[in-house]
Every structure is written in C-alpha cells, then in structure tokens.
Symmetry: C3
C-alpha cells in the first residue's frame, strides 16, 4: 500500500464545489465519523438530529449544512447535501487494489476471446472463447466469463464473479464476489410423473452503473432476456428470477427476491428480505418495507408493508393462536352488531 | 458458436409424436413466445386463456392443444400438453458449450482421483485424490470435487460447483454455479459458556435427474446422510440442512429452506422463500405457498399457507398494531357474547 | 483415506473424564445414532425422552446420563452432558483431509504476501501481496485472500473462501465454502436522480473460534469495522451488513440476516431466517425464533417471536383477508362495549 493520500480543504472545496469556511490550507488524510475522526480527518453531519455530536468531535474539519455550520467552531465545508458530498470526498481515500492492464499468466483465456489491451484479467480467471472484455474492465481473481458474455468498459468484477452464458454487463458496473449471473432460470414442465426441463434460451442484460452484491443470483431468461436498467443497485444474496425486469435507479436491500417475469418500476426501494411474486407489475417510486411479500401488482407509488410485529414469545403465542380464528371472530362481532343479546 | 440448428416441422412432429397440421416442409430455426416469435420460429400456446394472442402472432408455426387449433390459420403441431412438447422442442435449440472429453491442462487432479476417459474436466478444477468422475460427466470451470465424492454418469456441474466431502451425485444431475454440497451441518453443543462443534460424519446423496440451483447449499449429515431422491428440483439460494430427506419429484422455489432432519415427501411443491422447521415430516403431494413457515408436521396432501397480506403502509401499521392485542380482543368479544351490557 | 481409527472405551473414558461402566477393553471404531449404531460403534442418549430407544439399540456402548444408565445393560460411558461428551468423542472419528504444510504449486501467491512455513495453501488459491497467513492456518482449494487480510493461526478456510479486503480472522476460525467476507457494505447516497456510492473504508474483524457457514456474507464497514467477537457461530447463507457487531458466543441459524450497524449481544440465539433491522441494539441472552423480524431494540433477555401460524390455505385465506380490517374490527368491538345496542 502506498501512503495515504492527502488533500487540502481548499482543494476539496474547489474539486467538489463546496463552500469553505475556515482554514483552507489545512490538510486532510482521511475521513471518519464525527465521534471518532481525528485532527487530520474530515467528519460529516448529514442529519441535524445528531448536531449535538459536533461539540465533542475532534475532527479536523466537518462537512455540514449551512444551517448546522454555526454550531461548529472549526473549519468546515458547507454542502447542500452533506452525505453526498461526504461520499464523493471519501472516494479519494478508498484504496482499491491496483489493477494493471493485461492478463495474469495464471488466467485461462480461450483462443477467440477478445480482451481489450487496457483491461485487467486477474489470477485464475477463466474466459470462454466467445467472451468480450471491453476497455478498462477489471476482472479480479477467479472470475468466470462464459460463452457469449460481454463485460463493458470500466466495469469491475471484484473477484469470483460468474457470468454463465449470454450475459451483457454495461459500463461502470460493479459486481461483488460470489455473484452468479446468467444461470438457468427455474423452468419445469410436468409430464407423467416426472419433471421436464424447459430450456432457458434467453440471457441477462445489466445496464450501465449497476451494482450487484455478493452471492446475488440473476438467472437468464427463458425466451427473452432478464433485464436490469441503468443504475440499479442490488445488495447481497438477492435472487432475481428469469425474465424479471428492474427499472432504472431502483435499489434492493439484502436477501430480497423477485420471482419470474415480474416487472419492477424505476426509483423503487425494496427492503431487506422483501419478496415479489411472479408476473406482477410494480409501478415507479414504490417503496416495499423489509420482509414484505408482494402478492399482487402495485399501480401507485407509495409505501407498502406486510407482517406482524414481534413480541415477547409468550404474548406472541397467545395472539398468533387467535389469528387462526380471525374470520370466526369477525363473524361473531357481526352477529353481536346485529343482535347484541343473542 | 455454430450456426443455429434447423428442423422441418415434419421432423419435429415425428420426433416428438405430435400431430402435424399444415406444411411439414417448413423449416424452423428457433423458438419464441407467441408475441415475439418470427416467421422461422415456433411459438406455443399452453394456456387457453391467452388464445387471443394467436391472432397477432407472426410465428412460423405454433404448438397448441387440439381445442385451440381451429383458432390458428397457420401450420401447427398439436400436443396433449403443449408446454411439455415445447420444452422438448426447445431443447434442440439450446446451445450448451461443447465439453470435449478430457482434463483441461489447468485443472489440478490429485493422483488417485479416478476420472472416466469420456468425462470432461474444465479449466481450473480441483479434484481430490479420493474423488470419482464417471462416464460422460462434465465439470465446467472452477469446480471443486473433494474427498470421497462421486460425480455420476452424464452429470453436469456447470461451473464453480463445490462438493466438499462424502457427496454422491447420481446420474444426469445438473448443478449450477456457486452451489455448495456437503459442507458441515450446523451442529453445536453448549459446554460451560462455549460452543463445542459436533462433528458432521455423514455425507450427501443426490439421486438421478436432480437439479440444484445457483448458490444453493446442502449440508452433509451429522451421523447419516442428507438425502435427495431422484428428480428433486431445487432453485437458487436454497438451504438444505443436515440429515434432511427430500422425496422424489419434489420441487422447491428460490430462497426456501429446510432445517435439520426434516423429511419432505414426494411430489411436494415448496414455494419461494418458504421454510420448514427441523425434525418435521411432510406428507407426499403437499404444496407450501411462498414464504409460508411450516412449524408442525403435515400429515395430509393439500395446500398450506401463512403470513398476512401486504397493504399500503399506513393501513398496515394500524392493523399490525392491533395484532399485538388480538388475544385481548378475542376475550372482549367473548365477554360481550356472555353479557353484552357490562 | 487411512483405516478408521480405533479406541478402547477405557481410553475414551480417561481422555474425556467420563465414568466407564462395563468392559473397558472393548474397541470402538466409530459413532452412530442409537437406532443405527453397530456393535463396534458408540451411540449416545442425550434426551431422556428417547430412553426407550435403548432397548432396541445394537450399539457397542452408549454415552448417557447417570439417571439413564440403569436402562442400558451393556457397556456405557456416563457423562454429565452426553451430547457434549459425544461431540468430543466423535471428533476422533472425523477424518478431515490432510493439509500438508506448504504452498500448492498451482496457487498464486503474490510477492510480498507472508505465509507461515507451517501453513497450508491449497490448489488454485490466490493470495494478494498484502496478505498474512499465520502458523498452522489451512486454506483449502480456491481460496482468495485479498489485500490487508490476515488469516490467524490454526484457522481453516475449507475451500473457495473469499476474504475481499481488510479482513482479520482470529485463531481457530472455521470458514465454509462460498463465504464472502469483506465485500463492500451497501452504502448509497441519492443525488439528483442517481445513486452515488459511499466508499466502504472499514474492514471486518472475526474473533477466535468463530465458525462461518457456506455462502454466508459479511460486509466490511463504512468507516469502522464490522465485528464478530469470539466463538460466534454462523450457519449457511447468513447476511451480515456493514458495521454490525455480534457479541461473543452468539449463534445464528441459516438464512438469518442483520442490517447495517445493528449490535447483537453475547449468548444470543437467532433462529433460521430471522431478521434484525439496522441500527438496533439487542441485549445479551436474547433468543429470536425462526423467521422473526426484529424492528426495535431489545433491552431484556428473553424469547421473541413474530409471524402467524400456517394453516390449510383455504382457512388461511379467510383469516388473512380479515387481517386487513383488524383495526376496524377492534373499533367495532370498542363501539359495542360502549353501547351494545347501537
């Protein structure tokens, strides 16, 4: 590792179009939380709710909103959205492993594969004859790029990513280890007591600027392609079944799942562990809370939930047992309403 | 890739015992959905509900039921079950990567491993001394075959499959990337404030014609084997704990899970995200709907569900809060029934 | 594989401080369940509920409690906790693959990586320049050890384990195949219609004696580290988000998940498929039952649950439909209580 990068606050203010208040010559060599940032680190205050943390912070400088600035006596960078500004500044301090152009000698690249001279192919990758790796793409160790797969320019497969077949990743896509993209969709027909496999002849298309989490799976389509539009963000261990379509800028949290042929709109937020059944259509700007199971199409933007609250187990058991008779209870109340003195 | 295969309709009719109506000399070079299939492609109509799509279809021919045939003016193949027939025909057009017999020079095969001459071992596989790869089996890139593991004849591990130890795959099994079969079951004993690991001395046996999805995990047994009978079909990201037994022809959808020592019958259908607790017994021909948690044994065939419906979050919150008092509400209704004028 | 190890009962009694009753010269070559153990195998009875199985058992000897000993006519080893004693004895019969010290010639170890002479690096591992592998550590085939990662002494990565970056595993940790530790946490800021990635600058620290299941994912922290204290036990397909902290001796069953920055206490038991939302704090010795979703912090030890019981689908549908009107039903009961004759 090289030495940590260093930046003056004046430089950061100019680079990210922030307003500097205080000593622009001060040098920053890292970022941190308000509570733990040191004298050469930059902290941030995104939520005014935590404004009281400013008093105790030892940060060398703070990114904050203009409204919060009077509460910080030190040097600050004022931003309309401190969290976004912090994300941009912090990126200067992320040290991703160097990825020199070229193919590591231990990688197995089949004759016929096209790998751009500016691309980097890491140790022990396996690239099929029919694959294309475009300019500046980076494959970390142990990636598998199967037949008819394209890795777009500047896209990075961190390590151990599997593109099975007929997968196209757009530009600047980021894929984390263990992700499997383009495996067979789960298609079965039932014939006289046995399952018959339905061939999965489609592929997967992933738009520009998408992110795909660790151990997430995206199956290829049966006849047409499974599709992620641009800037879709998937966390870890998500399951996307065949022929699903996900609209641009939608983000899904860990362990959520979408069944076959469902269509999800743009700018949706899908909570952790949420599920969407097959063949449904979800409108744009729909929020699904954690663990909600969506069983019908949603036509309107808004927030949707299911489930029951957790409780101490003894109390929960009593309530849960009553749920099995909720229809009966409702009928009994109806009877009382009709004739309160039976 | 070679050119797409081509088949005359007369040939398809004969090969799959379908009734040809129309021009048997017509040539087909692919399959597609009714709405998108072109003049040289074969479409299908499995569900009479979509019969109206026939009018607009540009498909070169259609597989359909005799009842639907009068609604299609073009050439058709009449089948008792068009979806099954379509699955069989479509398989002719699936182009799986060629797998030449032999061991790729980058694979690491320990001395003592037995690999059939007709088997194919792909790039960067690692095969332990005690492993056996039978006739015609195909290991794609990056497979790990551990000690005392057997890969049956014609079985295909697509890529990056891990058989940890004491795993036997039957014949014609299909395993997708990221699957881990034969890892330690989760066995712990608690001793004076610390966990003691319970050794997992069993294995895993997978029957003929099973399919195992991407990133699915099947643990090996504690004392005896975890067992999948023949023709069990598992989708992606399924978790099968140690000593589970799954009956023949059962299919499980993505993200479902079965806890230790549960026994599932034959011809069951387990929905996406469903869960089955440990040590339960599930009868044959049981259907579990998506996300249902099965907490007791099921003795009778039938369909079972749990959960509550999703709603707009504001409405849901009001109802969910009341759930915490459902036992109390029931008692209050009982009181009203006894004495409506308290 | 070598021949199975053999031990006399006298030897086992002495080694594990158990009380021998009967023939100490008898030789044992394996362990088994009471119902299936043979004449040279050792069975165990941990739960007095199954005492009746003693009568039919053909086991060569049995580990049991003093209270149960009179019900077994053969040789026995008497233990205060038979399950713990069985776990220790069974470990003698677990034959883990030999791991000779040294680096397999197919592994790719970057110059600069430090690998202890007593460590074992298996086939096709990829070790980054900044990694450290300590004394007696074992990496099975296909492990990836990324930059700034440390594998502690005697730790074993079974196969195909990925340590992405800034991951420290303590001593005697056991990690199963497909686990991904140290991938980016899921941090996003929203800026004028697009997502901006929030760099994940922290790492992951895993304490001594932890176990991490197959295909489990543990993300690295945003600014500080994700942390597992010692003796934490994670089953398969668990998702641990960035900046989570898990207290010592906590065990989590398969498919459970913890969202970002949650803190879980010591000696907790988290059931299969349970979920814990972000930024919550869970006290020590809390038990969460299977599939429970924890939506608020828990201050007291105890057992907590959520969900509704499963039922035959027809009955369930009627009750579930009523849930959507539970708030209204409660208000109607309130009205009846106020004025039973409206």
């Amino acid at each position: 590792m090289n030495a940590a990068p260093r930046h003056t606050l004046a430089d950061l203010a100019q680079r990210f179009a922030l307003e500097l208040r205080g000593d622009g010559a001060k040098t920053i060599d890292g970022v941190g939380a308000l509570a733990t940032a040191g004298a050469t680190q930059l902290g941030f205050l995104a939520n005014p709710h935590y404004r009281s943390q400013l008093a105790a912070s030892k940060a060398g400088a703070v990114i904050l909103r203009a409204d919060d600035a009077p509460h910080w006596p030190g040097t600050s960078l004022v931003a309309a959205d401190p969290y976004v500004a912090f994300a941009r500044v912090a990126a200067l301090f992320e040290r991703t492993p160097a990825a020199a152009p070229g193919i590591h000698p231990s990688a197995v690249v089949a004759p016929g594969a096209r790998v751009a001279a500016s691309a980097s192919v890491g140790p022990l990758c396996a690239i099929d004859a029919g694959a294309i790796i475009e300019d500046g793409a980076v494959l970390g160790p142990h990636c598998i790029i199967g037949p008819d797969c394209i890795v777009g320019a500047q896209t990075r497969c961190v390590a151990r990513v599997t593109l099975v077949t007929r997968v196209t990743l757009g530009k600047r896509v980021l894929v984390h280890p263990g992700a499997v993209i383009g495996a067979d969709g789960f298609g079965l027909a039932f014939d006289r007591g046995h399952w018959v496999k339905v061939p999965q002849l489609g592929g997967v298309r992933v738009g520009d600027d998408c992110e795909i989490g660790a151990n997430t799976t995206i199956d290829r389509g049966a006849l047409e392609d499974t599709l992620l539009e641009e800037d879709v963000r998937l966390d870890n261990q998500i399951q996307i079944a065949h022929n699903v379509r996900i609209g641009a800028h939608t983000a899904m949290a860990g362990c959520s799942a979408v069944a076959g042929s469902a269509r999800i709109g743009r700018y949706c937020l899908i909570g952790g562990g949420a599920g969407i059944l097959g063949h449904l259509t979800i409108a744009d700007r729909v929020t699904i809370t954690a663990r909600c199971l969506v069983t019908r199409s949603i036509d309107h933007a808004g927030e949707y939930s299911s489930g029951v609250p957790f409780q101490p187990a003894r109390e929960w058991r009593r309530n849960a047992a009553r749920f099995k008779h909720l229809d009966d209870l409702t009928r009994r109340v109806q009877a009382l309403e009709k004739d309160p003195k039976p």
